[in-house]
């Protein structure tokens, strides 16, 4: 990163533009929640793709190569932990940041999820502003290796 302040600002704007087209995969078995999340993400200029279970999550991740994954834990055909594990073990997919968004209890799951390689844990219902912030930060970190000036 260049040190000149003006350059930083330009970089910042470019980063934002690039992020605006980031593709986010939503993995949730509840169609209403998928729709709500899709509306919210599209309103923030993200592209979205869907997966409805653990099996299709992996297949879809291969096919679509999303920039970020939002993952539910309770899923048919391989729960969220199975998906996390398979993503981590796959060289082509392990760099994709995963944000876990689940109704399950944080005391029992947050640590486990983070150990398994997730970037963040949110319990449903999550605060939208906070979720969007973390999505932005995770994309930033994963994307090009450059970092937002704060």
């Amino acid at each position: 990163m260049k040190s000149h302040a003006d350059t930083l600002c330009v970089n910042f704007a470019l980063e934002n533009d690039k992020m605006a087209n980031s593709k986010i995969m939503i993995v949730d078995d509840d169609p209403d929640l998928r729709q709500a999340l899709r509306l919210r993400l599209r309103a923030n200029k993200y592209e979205t793709v869907n997966a409805v279970d653990g099996y299709s999550a992996i297949a879809m991740a291969y096919k679509e190569r999303p920039d970020l994954i939002i993952l539910d834990l309770g899923l048919p055909a391989g729960d969220g932990f199975v998906v996390l594990d398979r993503l981590q073990k796959d060289d082509k997919l392990s760099a994709i940041p995963v944000i876990v968004l689940t109704a399950r209890d944080p005391q029992a799951n947050e640590r486990r999820v983070l150990r398994a390689g997730a970037a963040a844990f949110f319990q449903k219902p999550a605060d939208n502003a906070e979720l969007l912030d973390v999505i932005r930060a995770s994309l930033n970190r994963a994307g090009t290796g450059t970092v937002l000036p704060s």
């Binding site: 209403d32 919210r40 109704a103 005391q107 963040a120 912030d133 973390v134 970092v147």
Partner: protein, 514 residues
Amino acid sequence: MNGQSTHVLLIEDNPGDADLVRLRLVQANSAVDVSCFNRLSDGLASIKEKSPSVILLDLNLPDCQGAETFRRVLEKAPDVPVVILSGQDDEALAVKALHQGVQDYLVKGAISSSGLERAMRYAVERQALLRSLEMSRKQQLEFKNQFLSHVSHELRTPLTCIHQFVSILFDGLAGEVSAEQRDHLKTILKSVNQLGAMVRDLLEASRAESGKIRIEPRCVAVGDLIRQAVTMMQLAAQEKEVGLEVGVDTRIPFVHGDPGRVLEVLINLIENGIKFTPPGGAVTVQACLVQTDPDFVYVSVADTGCGISPEARALIFERLYQDPSAVDNNRKGLGLGLFIAKELVGLHGGRIWVASEQGNGSTFSFTLPLYSLAKLLRPVITYQECLRDDLVLVKVVLRPLSKQVRASWKETCQHCLEILQRCVYLDKDLVLPPMTTHGAEETFLVVASTDLERAKIMMGRIREQLGRVPDLNGTGELEVSASAVRLPDGAGRSLEEQVQEVAGAVTEMIHSVV
């Protein structure tokens, strides 16, 4: 006893009585096998090996007499039925024995063979019945917890759905919304959030009841937590036109507490205060030290609300209790908040109580144990009963590079702390327990028994070791700095006073650097 061989443990010091009991037992049931001890300690020692099906106990033994005798037996063998064979017909003692878990109290002179045999048989049956009742009570408790955990999980999904779609409408993502519609949507959102909080409390209360709440205490500046809680509640106070004020002495020492949990207690109390205070009133949060109880910090939340009746005061921390006379325009909630607060404070080793006069406001107070820096520092800052010559405070700051980092960062910080502990000399240096942090930045402090010049070597070691942490490499930056601790003039002062003074100086430095 099902006709099988029964093993009876007889603890009786009078050989005549012992023979008589043995004779009666054999008369009634030939399959019985009796081992007899005349001292309580010998009898107790045999339990493990012999695992008797029933214990017959005299209360006047050479090494123990009276109520103490059965207390010790019950403690040692809570699952074995105990029948007392006493020389005295003492009804009061008999009742006491039964209350404590003894199965029967027989008077020696009045026992027949068949009576004794039956008493033993019934004792065994009753004990088995009790045990199965206890088992099913435990199973039911477990079932209730599982059920609540399941229910709160299942409730969250539709709750999330409502929350998401209402906020989509509210934010205008599905078309323009009129001011009136926005108002209505805001009401829905508020109710959804209330519902969410109730679902959380439900699970939390059931956990508290079964002792499953975990706390992770740290060294915490309680004043910071109070200010944080007040900031979070300011909006709610303004909406109701209730003043919300803080009075915290800046010299309040650190406490030993789980910051998230203490914040939870504070928010709960402040929320209650606002709820029960009419517009124009005020809620005041304070922290202070009390001379008569020097090991604790006292935190209080006082309101100018309707007050609490004496009857309600006695019950207010009970689960599900709600004051029937509480004047409140809002909905009531589940009556779990104060119960959870009490459990959380209790887990910290503190206590919680309320003082109130009806019509004249209430003050909820709780205590948190002080974090004694002096006790922690003493072994490393003294050498052969003298204060060391030089002390340095080394500050290590881990700063995430992007603004929003969540819990994987916490793991990185924990890992760094472990490494830091390996960078110091255990007998001369002390890595202070982690402090509460503002945002994601984590600050670790090391008190090192060395001068500034030599501290540089340690700092170099820390930079080198932490620089190798892969997660820190990409996502955070490291800052290491040091400053000397001003040491007191030792002349004419006890070592204890000097240690206290150093602890005070270090506390002040911590306040200024964190």
